[in-house]
């Protein structure tokens, strides 16, 4: 979803940002002094009250979260939008969990697992005593029926489908064991089991039609919060599941969640979200505009952010396009963007791209040298390929102008700076912002030279999924060397080998100009002073099991 929040369109504002950073450091110091002071006081009075993240969590209270858009469909097995998945993560659990710091896969509903050497067979040993929110038991049969339901959803579960591509059989020798067999190596499947797209619902939920599940009327999971009320365009309310006792091995505590409940209010207006957060009417603003960051930080409110792992915001050329078919053009675009300068127009919490993958992706490797700004190199490439400067500085070849129109729907004002930068190498990028419906339809037609977007996944397999000639084939290209390297990544679970292969693939992709990375997509969340341990899981969606509210609720 549109999480790129940018506003500093004037380089002169840079100094402001620097000043702000300095000011921020000051506040930190004084806050620390305050915290120390209050600890001293606490020591004197003997009360347990304390500030800071290390304080003892309190139970109770409803967390008011302000969303910018309404999650039209609430079923996380069907939809890929962040607003839905942030809710799905609270109501369903997964077989495994992924450590957001290291990328390691850790036990959750599965206590342990065995993977065959060819990465075709995965056996999970399930935890005992797990129950759905309707009281029914979670067993290997639940796992099997959920995966079968995802297969039945067909195109409605695009993400889930891509994770279980080639699934041959699911066996359940006993209630606590489930074995998946694929007809080819599928190393990414282990990480996939940690995603909420493969979260679990009770049999009753699965009996419903896809449409009924979307409405959220009876979405019953095993998670720490249960769906309580869905009022479209107003609020989605969750309440604590009191019997919950099977958190991920990464969780900070046991038993039920700290919060009594969570209310996701839909507040489309950015200034209203900001005002509500500042006046304490909501606890969390999930989409802070960068012009509001200063105000929030000056008031002592926290801004938490984490870049979405996976493919960064990038231009994706289609090799079938009139201009994008020329490798020299694609490569010139990679060289022609000054990513350092983009920092001046994006949020303080957002970084320019340093690879096709975002830094938060486990298999990420810094390729910023490949992405170095080299306008002269770019011009030379275009000169050599026969694109000669023409009217208004825009190049042309055989009467064809080096010009294209990019349609996009994201909140991405940095594209205007990219447009300026590319103009200096003689490339004319026309920007056309449309509705999401129009852009998706245009992209499905596949007639455009370039598309713009990102793809979130906390595993570099997203490269294979996105760029692989046999998968999405975002470039509509013929199979080649890249696909051989990508195929290798499916065969091993060795993180070292996978990282090396994915880095090689990323280099090949950039070398062919199949991706023109721009900036990382980062969700910028503002939290009230009373909110503690608001955290992100590996794919940068919210994990609110450990979140708590302090003080007078």
């Amino acid at each position: 979803m549109p999480f790129a929040n940018l506003s500093v369109s004037d380089p002169a504002q840079l100094t402001d940002i620097r000043r702000m950073r300095r000011a921020k450091n000051h506040t930190r110091v004084s806050l620390a002094a305050l915290a120390a002071g209050s600890l001293l006081l606490a020591g004197c009075s003997g009360s347990a009250q304390a500030d800071g993240e290390n304080a003892t969590p309190q139970n109770g209270g409803v967390l008011n979260v302000a969303y910018d858009v309404d999650p039209t469909c609430l079923d996380g097995q069907q939809v890929g939008q962040n607003v839905t998945l942030n809710i799905t993560r609270q109501i369903t659990d997964s077989l495994t969990d992924q450590d957001p710091k290291t990328g390691e896969i850790k036990p959750w509903l599965a206590q342990s697992w065995d993977v065959s050497d060819d990465a075709k067979t995965f056996t999970f040993h399930l935890r005992d005593g797990v129950r759905f929110q309707d009281g029914t038991d979670f067993t290997s049969a639940s796992v099997k029926e959920n995966f079968e339901a995802i297969e039945d959803l067909g195109a409605k579960a695009t993400i889930g489908q891509s994770y279980i591509d080639g699934l041959k059989s699911i066996e359940t020798p006993d209630e606590q064991t489930v074995t998946f067999t694929f007809d080819r190596s599928n190393a990414q499947f282990l990480q996939a089991t940690s995603t909420m797209n493969l979260g679990f619902y009770s049999s009753k939920t699965l009996d419903q039609t896809a449409e009924q599940r979307c409405t959220g009327a009876d979405l019953v999971g095993t998670g720490p919060f249960a769906l309580d009320k869905v009022e479209h365009n107003r609020a989605i309310t969750l309440k604590r599941y009191d019997d919950y006792d099977w958190p991920s091995s990464l969780a900070g505590h046991e038993g039920p969640a700290h919060l009594d409940g969570i209310e996701f209010s839909i507040v489309p207006e950015a200034s209203v979200r900001n005002g509500s957060l500042l006046s304490g009417q909501v606890d969390v603003d999930t989409s802070v505009q960068s012009q509001d960051e200063k105000t929030l930080e000056a008031q002592g409110l926290d801004i938490v952010s984490r870049a979405n792992p996976g493919v960064v915001y990038n231009l994706v050329p289609k090799t079938t396009g009139a201009i994008a078919s020329d490798k020299a053009v694609r490569k010139a675009l990679v060289k022609g963007i000054d990513r350092e300068q983009l920092k001046t127009v994006v949020s303080d919490h957002q970084a320019p791209a340093t690879s096709v993958l975002a830094k938060s992706t486990p298999e990420y490797e810094d390729l910023s040298d490949v992405l170095a700004y080299d306008p002269d190199g770019a011009k030379k490439l275009l000169d050599d390929a026969g694109w000669k400067p023409g009217a208004g500085g825009i190049r042309a070849k055989d009467g064809k102008k080096l010009s294209t129109t990019l349609t996009y729907w994201q909140d991405a004002p940095f594209l205007e700076l990219v447009q300026q930068q590319l103009r200096t190498i003689g490339f004319d990028l026309q920007l056309e912002k449309r509705t999401i419906a129009e852009v998706t339809a245009l992209q499905a037609e596949g007639k455009e030279d370039f598309t713009f977007g990102n793809l979130t996944r906390s595993d570099a397999d997203i490269l294979r999924n996105y760029f692989g000639a046999k998968e999405q084939n975002a470039n509509t290209r013929e199979p080649g060397e890249i696909d051989k390297v990508l195929a290798r990544t499916t065969e091993t679970l060795d993180e070292g080998e996978r990282k090396a292969d994915f880095t090689e693939a990323a280099k090949l992709i950039l070398d062919e100009g199949y991706s023109i990375p721009i900036v990382e997509l980062t969700g910028i969340v503002g939290t009230g002073k009373n909110v503690h341990d608001f955290s992100f899981e590996a794919s940068s969606r919210y994990q609110l099991y450990g979140t708590w509210l302090d003080g007078d609720q």
Binding site: T72, G80, G154, C214, E269, Q281, I436
Partner: protein
Amino acid sequence: MSLRCLVSRLVQGLLVLWIAFTLSFFLLYWLPGDPVITMLGAGGELQNFDPAEVARLRAEFHLDQPLIVQYLFALGDLLRLDLGTSIQAGTPVTEAIATALPSTLALAASALVIALIVGTAVAVAATLTRRPWLRDILAALPGLGVALPTFWVGLMLLQIFSFRLPLFPAVGTGSPAAIVLPAGTLALPLSAIIAQVLFRSLQNAWIQPFVTTFHASGYTRLRLLLRQALPVALLPTLTMGGVLFGQALAGSVVVENVFSRQGLGRLAQTAVTGQDIPLVQGIVLFAAAVFVLLNLLTDLSYPLLDPRLRAARLKPEKKDGDTLAEAAVREGGSPGTTPSSSTETAGARP
């Protein structure tokens, strides 16, 4: 209104509904985009779609048929009063509208009440005052009220009465206090329209001979205005009922967005941006139906308010509750007792 007249009105109403349905249908299909692709790509991030699955879904929504066939399908469903299912949310369209309706009704009703009070007060005060400067100011207010963007007014009210002074909640439909600011915001343009029309008709009524006559017989200005001129002047305002409703509905799109309220406006907005064709059509039809109904009710209520229309069928006899103006009309008085110069007068109606 005779029975024949009523039937012809109903037929006309149905015709309006059919035209609204047809126009919105073709307009929506003429827009670029594909509802199935939009639904599948709901996440916004690029995904690949299995062409076979897409084809299956298109068939499910009859999207693979020629446009005219799709139209006939939709029309057939409509005749069976089946508005279909929202493509995005999966809920039946009727249910989606029924869920959103109460909140919008509450908003529109409160706004109309506020608008009637404020609008009437401004118009009456402007007519009554003997100070030209005050009259000029009051008469200029409606123009200002219409000119101020609802969006901006809403944000300002929130800034002052919710963020600075914690008097009203900024978000949600929960408490009764939550309706004050949005209703006030929506009432502003409505009251401006009411004040404008009412002021004109009051001025018109004010210069009629009967007013002078009554004035001469010792009525105070205020009593004369409220008892005699206002009922006469209210008629043209009543004819605005449909327009006011349309205004309230259009305004609710903005107001519901600014105040994060659930309702028809928000529903319409998300449906249009998500190209949820069945839902958009449902809302268009609903709005058209209410519009038609309101106009019908207005027509039916004329005889109750305008004695001339009643006089044709009723025996002229003076009742205690009648205003003197009505009596004057029935007793062969001048038709000039109504603001006949205005095009919205009841007299111009069939």
